[in-house]
């Protein structure tokens, strides 16, 4: 049974990836419970499709692609449900301090949930989890340049939201959105990681 050895190493890879999957999921969903549900769904899907994984290719990218696609489809579903309730998204209210660990991060978590999902995922994958632009583009199914511009918009918006003087225009047009080519904010801060 040669195939089992290959599956076994993928299996070990999946287990090893759980902490990182959870960390990304928390920042994406803004809720510890939803994050763990997302990771569980990702694992079930990975296991069910384990034979589709090409040995030797990037396992992390494969797993995070599953996680990301799952997040997006849940997000769409959830958005519909929530909008049915009060016509506005209440994502940011789902995080409770006890569940989420350190209180100091609450403001950041809440701000993250205010970012559009495509900006959020670019920021979390590159800025927090240390994926390269290329890997993030691969995971999100878009061009590298798209990841860079989403990242810049995410950073600009986040610093607006978290600025000590308070958000300038919470839902209005972003001052730095006029350039979509990644020049507005110098890159290199958020992604510096070992």
């Amino acid at each position: 049974m040669d195939g089992l050895d290959g599956d076994d190493s993928v299996r070990r890879g999946i287990i090893a990836a759980i902490p990182r999957l959870r960390a990304v999921a928390v920042s994406l969903t803004g809720s510890a419970d939803r994050a763990d549900d997302l990771v569980q769904e990702t694992m079930l899907r990975a296991y069910a499709n384990i034979d589709k994984f090409e040995p030797g290719s990037n396992l992390a990218a494969w797993l995070f692609t599953i996680l990301r696609n799952q997040f997006r489809s849940e997000y769409r579903k959830r958005k519909r449900e929530v909008e049915d309730v009060d016509g506005h998204h209440v994502d940011s209210l789902t995080a409770s301090p006890e569940q989420m660990g350190k209180v100091e991060f609450n403001e950041l978590r809440a701000a993250l949930t205010l970012l559009p999902p495509e900006q959020r995922e670019a920021l979390v994958l590159v800025g927090a989890s240390g994926f390269s632009y290329e890997e993030a583009a691969d995971i999100c199914g878009c061009a590298v340049g798209t990841i860079k511009s989403r990242l810049n918009r995410a950073r600009a918006r986040l610093s607006q939201l978290l600025s000590p003087s308070g958000p300038v225009t919470p839902e209005g047009p972003e001052p730095s959105q006029n350039s979509d080519n990644g020049e507005t904010f110098a890159t290199g801060d958020l992604e510096q990681r070992d």
Binding site: A23, V24, V26, D36, M43, R155, L190, E191
Partner: protein, 66 residues
């Protein structure tokens, strides 16, 4: 942040005449970046919760039956 990078950012900001304080912006960006990673690492340090270990064991049992 290096002094050179800061100067470049300030120059870039001034060049765009947005009237924003590029240095302050930059500082905030660095702080947000550090906080994002700290939050991320906090969760990574929780390891693999029991819920997932049980799930894995269950998946392995199912797989063994195949």
């Amino acid at each position: 942040m290096t002094k050179k990078a800061q100067t470049q950012t300030e120059r870039a900001g001034a060049g765009r005449r947005r009237g924003s304080l590029a240095g302050v912006d930059r500082e905030l960006q660095v702080r947000i970046g550090a906080q994002l990673r700290a939050m991320h690492d906090d969760i990574i340090h929780e390891g693999v919760p029991e819920r997932f270990q049980e799930l894995l064991a269950q998946l392995d049992r199912t797989k063994a039956k195949d």
